[in-house]
Symmetry: C2
Subunit: 649 residues, 2 copies
């Protein structure tokens, strides 16, 4: 059912099932997800990790299903831990239909069916603990959020297996929600405090074609922020004035104004960007140019004024939120891993709509940097917060930096980012290609292949590359029979010069929206070769980013670099880089699972010229220093130490 196409969509993603990633960079991570993260998390959900705090998640559903006695354990949104795990498993089944996990999934789905109430309601917390208080606090209580994660898992599992039982559960649940929420007399005009269900409903719609999912999504988006009276005030008054979380500012929930009046990204970053993703989905499906412009305006503000160079967003620990334009402190960056992931979701949707490489550039940027930094190379530990400057000496002692962890934390320390990374990595293939009736798009560069139908003709595209370490990409086209269509390959915004050949001959190609478009009659074995110049780039910030004044960052291709104490000694802030001297990329196969490092020259204060006093009218001597930068995503894999992205120049 994936060919439901809107006028607003330039293209649709090629489904994960039709994409194989066999890539030196990404495949090891996908293996980690399958072989380590999914089994570990399943044990965690079943309280079988020695030494870890219990999760209680499966147990909660068993109680709700009447299979056992007991009370609910954990957070009000505990159910979503299972659903996120299920989605990751479903994605991995799309790649490789593993009968063990499919059986486990079917058993879990049976459990969910038993836990679902007769009227369709499904939430273990409320069923077990507060059966009389359902839907009384949509601002704080994540019932709709959990439902959303169920719907995402369902759509992914249905795509993987074609089994409809979980879709039936969702359908009955949505029917129940529609009975409770709506504009009709006696229904609640509410919407979730934590957006997420919007994009999930659109996934159900894409999987089934049923309009009820779109209508509900539209209702939630249109009601959001309407006032007076504000729905959150109405339900609070009905509760007798109590709150679960006492947050007074409705911008935290993106509910401070009706959606069509919102122009800047506000509040909790993950909530915001899940919502904007749902808005993009709805706008495209509804052909709603006005709503689409809301998404475009929010996008532009996010990218031009509130995003770190790593693709991280949400610069404040307090409320995990966006703050104001250009407020991007490095040492107190919050930039939750989930927020960078949500930016990938949003970018991917905007890309299908507008077909502009800027979206793919940002998707790639967040993927290789702000999202990937959330997980250690061995998959055993995680950053929830992804700072761009860490000085353990201070960060471990300042209370106003308590959210900054100086090393990644083990899995069970944080429940939300690890499954989000897992589902991202498991579903990576769906971000690589798109297609429409006459074009195949190559957005990302990963070795592997895709199978796609063009006018009924089976076409295989094989991609060979050592990306992101090398800029050469070779695409072999294998149509079943010769066929005319276009292949559109992204020429990344970071690339100043690309050489392109087709079948070994240099060609001039049209670029549209940043994509090189090759329209021709393709025959078996045709080859496109693209050589993206990938020099070390010295990047500067807009001068309103005060913390970066007088500083530069190093970037090569999509990869942002950093200095680590391990390679450069301590007091990294004292280092001045000489950008006029050669900055040399070197592939180091045995470092950090194999990375390109950047080596250059700089200076540092000559310690011999220091008097020991804090302040002096003397100038300090500086001595030359060799500098080595490593990819930002790979930092903190060699013990605790200092790190900076922005280097004085």
């Amino acid at each position: 059912m994936s060919n439901i196409m809107s006028d607003k969509l330039q293209m649709e993603p090629i489904s994960l099932k039709n994409v194989v990633v066999e890539d030196a960079f990404w495949t090891p991570w996908q293996k980690l997800v399958k072989e380590s993260i999914i089994p570990y998390q399943w044990d965690a959900l079943n309280d079988r990790i020695p030494g870890a705090e219990p999760s209680g998640t499966i147990r909660n559903f068993e109680i709700a299903a009447g299979r056992r006695e007991g009370t609910h354990y954990g957070m009000v949104f505990q159910d979503s831990d299972l659903y996120k795990w299920m989605e990751a498993v479903a994605f991995s089944l799309q790649l490789d239909r593993d009968s063990t996990w499919e059986q486990t999934m079917d058993e879990v789905i049976d459990l969910l069916a038993e836990a679902q109430e007769a009227n369709g309601y499904l939430n273990s917390y409320y069923t077990v603990k507060e059966p009389d208080n359902k839907w009384t606090n949509v601002k704080d209580d994540h019932e709709l959020y959990c439902a959303g994660h169920l719907f995402e898992a369902a759509a992914a599992y249905y795509e993987a297996t074609g089994k409809s039982k979980i879709m039936d559960i969702c359908s009955r649940f949505v029917d129940h929600i529609i009975e409770v929420f709506g504009r009709e007399e006696g229904k609640k005009k509410g919407y979730p405090g934590h957006p997420e269900i919007e994009l999930a409903l659109m996934k159900l719609y894409r999987a089934t074609g049923e309009n009820k999912y779109v209508s509900l999504c539209q209702f939630f988006i249109e009601e959001r922020g309407q006032q007076p009276p504000h729905y959150f005030d109405i339900e609070k008054e009905k509760r007798g004035g109590t709150d679960r979380f006492n947050l007074k500012n409705y911008d935290y929930f993106q509910a401070h104004a009706p959606i069509k009046e919102q122009t800047t990204p506000e509040g909790h970053a993950v909530r915001a960007v899940y919502l904007y993703s749902g808005i993009a989905d709805l706008a495209a499906q509804q052909n709603d140019e006005q709503l689409l412009n809301v998404a475009r305006t929010l996008w532009k503000n996010t990218i031009d004024k509130r995003m770190y160079i790593t693709g991280g967003i949400g610069s404040s620990e307090y409320q995990e939120r966006f703050t104001v334009d250009y407020d991007l402190p490095n040492d107190r960056a919050y930039t939750e891993t989930c927020a960078a992931i949500s930016l990938i979701f949003w970018a991917h949707r905007m890309l299908q709509i507008d077909g502009d490489r800027e979206y793919a550039d940002i998707m790639e940027l967040a993927l290789y940097n702000g999202a990937l930094s959330g997980i250690s190379l061995d998959g055993q530990s995680y950053f929830y917060v992804n700072s761009l400057e860490v000085w353990p000496h201070t960060a471990n002692h300042r209370h106003d930096m308590s959210s900054v962890k100086t090393t990644r934390q083990p899995w069970f320390g944080c429940a939300c980012c690890p499954p989000n990374i897992a589902r991202l990595l498991a579903s990576l293939g769906q971000y690589v290609y798109s297609k429409n009736e006459s074009e195949i798009y190559v957005h990302l560069f990963m070795q592997g292949e895709t199978d796609v139908k063009m006018n009924g003709n089976n076409v295989k595209l094989q991609q060979q590359t050592q990306y992101p370490w090398q800029g050469n990409i070779n695409i072999t086209v294998q149509p079943q029979k010769s066929e005319e269509f276009a292949i559109a390959v992204r020429i990344p915004g970071w690339c100043q010069n690309a050489s392109i050949t087709v079948n070994g001959e240099k060609v001039q190609v049209n670029q549209e929206g940043g994509y090189a478009k090759f329209l021709r009659t393709w025959k078996k074995g045709d080859e496109i070769n693209i050589e993206l110049d990938m020099p070390v780039e010295v990047v500067r910030s807009h001068p309103e980013v005060r913390e970066n004044a007088g500083k530069v960052a190093l970037k090569r291709g999509p990869v942002v670099y950093c200095l680590e104490e391990k390679d450069n000694g301590s007091n990294l802030q004292d280092i001045e880089i000489n950008e006029k001297k050669q900055l040399e990329p070197t592939f180091e196969p045995h470092l950090l699972n194999g990375v390109v490092t950047i080596q250059g020259k700089g200076t540092i204060t000559d310690r011999a010229s220091l008097s020991g006093s804090l302040y002096t009218t003397s100038t300090f001597e500086r001595t030359s220093k060799d500098i080595k930068a490593v990819p930002y995503y790979a930092w903190s894999n060699r013990g605790e130490g200092e790190m900076i992205v922005w280097i004085r120049n």
Copy 2:
């Protein structure tokens, strides 16, 4: 009674009563204290400020005295507001015995005598509210802290008037404390969670010569931090495990280790430095070289590793505390006004002991910068927190900067710093001169005079200067009859070159500990003239202060400068100063009550070269820019705006 001299003291301060300050810079502020702050605060203590929150302080004592019915209002340490005010009044009476305020003081002292319990106990909170819980929580409950402020006020009032009634109240109160606290069986081995009483007891000792005050001070200092068991644990257990404030780290109270094992300044900055001041007093009186070395070590660590260029200390809002070496962020500097004031107290004590100008330099630095910045030029508003970089755009929106106020707050908004500034300004004269048997010391440069006895001979020293705006100081010596003694004038550490004449003739003088010492037989009208070179200085930080890497501060004489948006436009962090070009000081009589400004050249990003995108591989053009710096203490007197002390160079 001020001539009780220890072997450890090189000199003693010349009493406030014998010093007249008639100085273009300082006298207006002293007038503010007398004519505006003292009357305002008296009204506040009596709940007569319309619109302000009630203080309840006088009312509390009236209830304790049985003059009226009611319950206690305010904080557990509310009494200290009255005592601090009394001390400021007492100092102002030492300068000018104003009969109205003396009568008010006597009435207040009568009230205190009535509120004092029969056994000597005096604290309105406990007498009124928790009579059975006295002395059960010296960690949190400020009973000894309030007592200390009473003792300081008493010593000052006794010095001003010779009236002993308040000293008798103190004596009886101390007798009671000695009955409760001590090493003897059945007594509490406790000490205050908020140090202050230590230095106050030494003031009572200096005023009376009674050893009981020293003994109690010594007991408190020696018991502090002893363990196991720790006294704070003992009293907590006796309370049944409850706490008023749940602070688990005893370094907050400087009670993490015995005093003689403490080497770094830790915890709440004001508590710490009040304690260190008391330690200095006790060590000098006791001739305790080991204890003195503790104070010297703590001093050196404070000055060399944990002090802002303004003399501000305590870099973290959390617990208002010291953190770790070189952790001196500018935009989140806490640097409470009271902490800079306490540094003046401590420096003043160390100076009398060691006679080294470094102490006087820091005393002067904190006075002209970190302390004075706490009060607006009109005396109507106050900074509790003195940041070195304020960007309202961010500071008003980041929760982790909520302690940073972008403009000074009106008086009644904060209860602790305003009376502390008031007592400092009222008692300024006592910091200017010291003497011993054969020497008169001039530490600070303020126009005015002092009367002092040298070998029974009355000597008047008249100081003429336009300090801190000019470096010329003229001292006229007026002995009753010719007399041999030395006059020692500080040559400040910031001064690279000083020209000195005596009676118009250039002289070479010995410098001892940074003081130019003139030993001769002085006769009426002899004149010393000192011309301190006072160029604009460009100051750098130790490179371990990461936030100041690549930046300089401007200083002239003792005055630290800053850039304000008002003079330099917005985005001050973008400005680069050209320190090679002339930095020109100009006296501007109509600006900020008359200040020397510094004008120079710099550059700023050419906005025309910006693309609007956040990150770019282009370099930015820079255009030249005239720069004007104003004294840091005078910032934020012209509306809200940006400010920086550390400027890129």
